[in-house]
Each structure stands twice: as C-alpha cells, then as structure tokens.
C-alpha cells in the first residue's frame, strides 16, 4: 500500500512557503499576540517604563520637582543600609508588622471560619457582620478607633468610670504601644476578609472526607488537622505570601493615626518613603526605598515559587 508522506518544512523559507505552517503560525502565535498587544502595551506604558524609571531615579539625587537629577550610583542605597538609622528602625517595624499579620489574623480567621462552617442557619448574618469592617474606608476605621482608644473619652475612660482602672491610657500616644495599637486597628478591618476566603475554601472540601474521618474515629481537632487544613492549604499559603508582601506596603492606617510617631515608634518604610519624597524633597532617596520594598516582595515571591517547584501544593 502506498503511503502518502508530506515532507515537513524545516528551513524558514520552506516554512513560509508552506500554507499549513503559515496558518498554524498565524493561529497559534500571531493572533494571540494581537489580542494581548493592547494590554501588553498599556502594561509597558504604565508599569514597566515607570518601574525602570523608578530604578533609575533611585540612583539619582532627584528632588521630585523639575528635571534636574544627577546620577549618584548606589549612594542612596549605601545611605539607606549603612547610615540612615530611621530606615533600620522602620524596617524593624515592618518586620514586627509582618509577624503580627502572619499570625493574629490567620489564627482568628481560621478559628472563625471553622466555627462558621458548622453553622447551618443564619451563617450569612455572622459572615456579613465580620466582613463589614473590611469594606469601611481606612479613614473611617481610624477615626472610629482613635475615639475608642482615646484615654479621655474612649473605652478605657468608660471602664475607668465603672471602676475598672488601667485601660485609660494613650495607646496611640505611647512609643511602646503605638505600633501594636495600629496593627490591632488594621487587623480589626482585615481579618474578616481572610475569614471569608478560608470559609469559601473550607466549603469546597468534599463532605465525604469529613464522613470518612468520623468513621475513622476522628474528633473535631483531628478533622481540622487532617481534613480542613490540608484542604485549604493552597489558599492559606497564598494568603501568607500576599500578607507578607502587603506588610511592606503598610501605609494608610499608620499615616492616618500617628504619621509614624511618637518619636518614630510606628514609622515603617512606606511612611518614611512618603516623607522623604514629599516633605524633604528627596525623591531619589524615596525611590531607593521603593525599590527596596520591591526587592523584599520579589524575595518573598521567590520563596514561594521555589517551594512550589519543590512540589509544595501552593
């Protein structure tokens, strides 16, 4: 039996002369690029070019107004890491902030999501109540809590009037409590969001797994450890990565409540960046801080990519 064989084009010229190859190339390569081109161009224009400019500006003494920017090499980075004490302090505060947000809201959200997943009726009411703080504007949340934490008219003052002393202190006005108080406020707004994500993930776990666990004699804790946690692990780990990155971007709650004070006790890199760029006219130096934040974010992403490559279910 004769077999018809068609020679596959190998050289560029052969490929270009081959109708099938041309169609395939158009369909698989050209058309997808045409579809993605507008978005890609927009991304290059609004993200890539400013990012490259930002990196360049971080190596200049640009003041933030006008075009005068002298190239200073890595001077800004040297100053950041070896001379600027406030940067070191701000970085330390960012790390404290990250540790807080990688523990407290996760524990609260996991606990609440587990409890809510058991509720058959009225669960939506609880979910809504716990989620509402997340949709409040930061300025509203801060205003509410600044009043609640006020030692003269807040909760502490009310407790003192009832004879319960010791809580009427200036939480935002003391260096030792300011940062944690703001973290508490931010967490009040944030953890409901985490809870909703975990709850959604829990609801996607097949009920048969729980039934099987029960048959095997598992108690609630065993179910949580061996069924729930493995079932929501991708979501938890992804949020771990995001929260770690967001921790270096913390700005609004801090700036609206203490502006980094008192005495720099709640200063973080983003607030320091803002002050340098807009108050001290050191936009180049501020850009260097921005690049450092990006490097931290990149480092965190790299850890997760590495773990995924090693087979972690992230």
């Amino acid at each position: 039996m004769a077999v018809l064989t068609q020679k596959k084009p190998t050289t560029i010229l052969e490929k270009l002369n081959d109708e099938t190859w041309r169609r395939k190339f158009l369909r698989n390569v050209i058309i997808p690029w045409i579809f993605i081109a507008p978005l890609l161009l927009l991304h290059i224009y609004v993200v890539t070019i400013p990012a490259v400019q930002g990196i360049y500006m971080s190596m200049t003494d640009w003041k933030g107004v006008g075009q005068n920017a002298n190239f200073v090499g890595l001077d800004n980075y040297r100053e950041l890491f070896f001379e600027d004490e406030t940067f070191g302090k701000a970085l330390g505060n960012n790390i404290i902030w990250m540790i807080f947000f990688l523990t407290v809201p996760f524990i609260l959200a996991l606990f609440a999501a587990t409890m809510l997943s058991q509720i058959k009726r009225g669960g939506m009411v609880y979910r809504s109540i716990l989620f509402i703080p997340y949709v409040l504007a930061s300025v509203v949340t801060i205003t509410i809590w600044k009043n609640l934490l006020n030692p003269q008219r807040g909760v502490g003052a009310a407790l003192a009037e009832m004879g319960i002393q010791g809580f009427d202190i200036a939480y935002l006005g003391r260096p030792e409590t300011a940062l944690m108080s703001i973290a508490f406020i931010d967490n009040w707004h944030f953890w409901g969001f985490l809870m909703i994500l975990f709850l959604a993930a829990m609801q996607s776990i097949p009920p048969v797994l729980y039934d099987a666990a029960k048959i095997d004699g598992a108690n609630r804790w065993d179910e949580f450890r061996h069924v729930t946690l493995p079932g929501i692990r991708p979501v938890v780990l992804f949020m771990f990565m995001m929260v770690a990155i967001w921790s270096f971007l913390a700005f609004d709650y801090i700036f609206l409540s203490t502006q980094g004070g008192p005495g720099g006790a709640s200063e973080v890199i983003a607030t320091l960046l803002y002050k340098n760029a807009f108050f001290r006219f050191e936009a180049g130096y501020g850009a260097a801080m921005g690049v450092v934040i990006s490097i931290f974010a990149g480092f965190i992403i790299m850890i997760f990519v590495t773990l995924r490559r090693r087979g972690w279910d992230i």
Partner: protein, 431 residues
Amino acid sequence: MKTLKILFAIAVLILALAPVGAQDVTTVSMWFSEGSTLDCWGPIMLEFNEIDPSVQLEIVPQADTWNVTRTAVAGGGGPDIVRTPGPSFVYEMAQAGLILPMDAFADEMGWGDFFFDWALDLGLVDGQLYSLSDELETLLLYYNTDVFEMNGWTPPDTMDELNALSEEVAAAGYTVFSHGNASWRPSNEWFVGEYMTQIAGPHNVYKALTGQIPWTDESMVNAIEILDAHMQAGWYGGGIDLYFTNDGATRRAMFADGTAAMNIEGSWAIRSLGEYFGESGQDWDWVPVPSHDGTDYFTIGMGNTSSINANSPHPEVAAQFLTWYFSPATQGKMLTACRKGPAPVSISEEVMGELDPRIARVYSELSEASANDRYGYTTWTFWPPKSDVYIYEEVERVWTGEITVMDYLEGLDEVFAEELAAGDIPPIPTR
C-alpha cells in the same frame, strides 16, 4: 413654523456670537483647597472678575492641593497661579524652572508700594522675585480670661514668669497649655522655633540660620532644654502621651471650656476660637509669647505663597490678578470678612478699626515688631525642607527620652550644614 424659524434664527445668532465672546475672555486659573476657607475666600477672590469682563479668574477646588499642584506643574500643566505652602517650597520650584521670575511685573505694577520691604525679599531666589508671601502669621500666647480672672492670675511677660505661672496653673488642676499633635504632627515645630526665638533670642537664631553659629550653641541648647522640661512636666496637653493623642478639636475645646488655661498657637487660631468660645460662653485674649528678657518678640511666618506658572499662557493676566489680590484693599476685605491672615502689606487704619480689637492688635503689634527689629523666625518659613522635617520629627525622640537635647541639636546642625552648603536656605532678611 414661524416659531421654529425664530428659534433657528436665535440659535444661529448665538452660535455666531459665541466664538467672538470666547476669544475676548482671558481666563487664569488658581487651585485651592476645598473647604470652609474657600467658602469664605472664594466669593471675594471672584470679585476680580467684575473689574474687567475680558479677564477672568477660575478657582478650581482640589483636595491635597499642594501635592496635586506640584505634580501637575512638574508635568508641564497645573494652574496659572501656583500656590505653595511657603518660601522653601518656592525655592525648589524656582530652581527647577517651573515658575517665572516676576521682577518685571513687580516694577510695572508697583508691588513694592504696598508690600513691606522685607516681605518681597522673602520671595527672592538667586536675587530674582519668584513668589509673593501670603497669610502673615505669628505665634501668640492665648489665655482663657475667665480662668485667669477666677484664679487671680495675670498673663506673664517673661519666661520666668511663665514658668512660675505654669506651676501654679498645674497645681490648681488645670492643663497648662491645651495642646496635641494628633491632627498635625508638624505642630511640634511651632514650639521649637518659638522657644529658640524667645529664649535664645532672634539675633542668635539669625546667626544660626546664616551659618555664623552652630545649632549646638549654648543658647539653643538652653532653649530646647526648657522646652523639653515643659514637656516632661506635662504642661503641654496634660502629659506627653496625651500631647501625642489630642487632636485639633480636642485641644481647642479644652481651652475654650476652661480645662486648659493657655495655648501657644499661631494667629490662624483666631479664626476658630470664636466658634469654640461661643459654645462655652467663656472668653479669651492673647499676649506675646514671653521671652527670656521680657522683650516682645514676634516670630514671623508665612502661610503660603503665590507664583506664576512658567507654562502659563497668560502670565501678565496672572500678575494682574496678583496685583489686585495682594492690594491692601482686597487683603483688608478678606481680613475683616474671613479673618484671613493678611499678606505682609500695609492695611489701612480704617479696616483695622472694623476688626475685633484683639485681632487688630495682633497685626499692629506684629507690624511694629517687624519695624523695630523685634521679629523672630518660624521654622516652616525660614528653615530649609530637610532641617524643617528634622526639627518636628526628631524632637519627639527628645520628648520620649530616646535622645538628648544635644544629640538632637547635633543632628540638626549636620542636616542644616548640608543644606547651607548646597545653598538650599530660603531667603533670610538681613538684620
């Protein structure tokens, strides 16, 4: 059908005339913060449009005006008239060529005739006039007259008297100064600048600003140590932690209701004191902030400045507006109607006569002090930007016990020396 024809004719007429009208009108723009200030100032500023219909001012309300303006001007846009928060900001914009030198307009329109001599100098950058200063400010010692009368106290004249009185006030259970920086953290700098002027003396501050003596000079150390002692005694806001907690409304309320006896604040506070004291039914007055030797020194500050955008297509019209806006007549009107701090121009006796005597006295005494070498310096007007930020940020570390006064002043000296060497110091009128 007839009606249709008439309507058509009117429409054609309107269309034919509209471009002619539009071509004849030149509009200059000014961006202004939204809020109550604009509500009062705006209608008065727009009276400019009635003078000549072919020259119009457009006020564009903006949130976070300064940052929006700076970004827009740097990008080649922005309003024709550029307002900045003070002379040190003008310096940066002038260096970058974003605003125009206005010397020719000043000569042509006679700005020197109504501005105080030293005031025009504040707008100089490398010998050229780039801005006109607005909202003359000074710090005052306000006191609650009801509280003072009830306790038989009299306002102090010297720093020693202030110390003695403050101890008495605190012992009587009052908060000495109604203060807090929760709404505006840079308010720390009011006291640093004021104590330097009143205790170290304005001549020493001048020497330090011109690089003749360091900020670690004994007189400066003494001034900041006294400020720190007042803070540590809990005189400001009722305690350091409360100082960091009290917001603007709280501190005004505690002064007006007699919880606090005094308040060191800028002349801008007069705008809102009436509202708070009106509610409490008590009353207030002011004296100059006491100095070490009893001389009445007044620190001078400027709330903002006006310049002309280098990209403005109509700089001459912008200058025309500035001439009208800074004229003593317009400034007087805004002072009486809105209690706006006037630009440093000579306001007529007649206008001053219409004011609350307490307010009139602020500007007459300030004017007298500036003419008699009794003026001092506010940090936001005369210090360069990095030093200014250092002053209000780092002083908190002194108050929280993290660093010593000497550490603080050594740091200031270092930052200031850098800016002095770079020529970034705003104009300091020679004395």
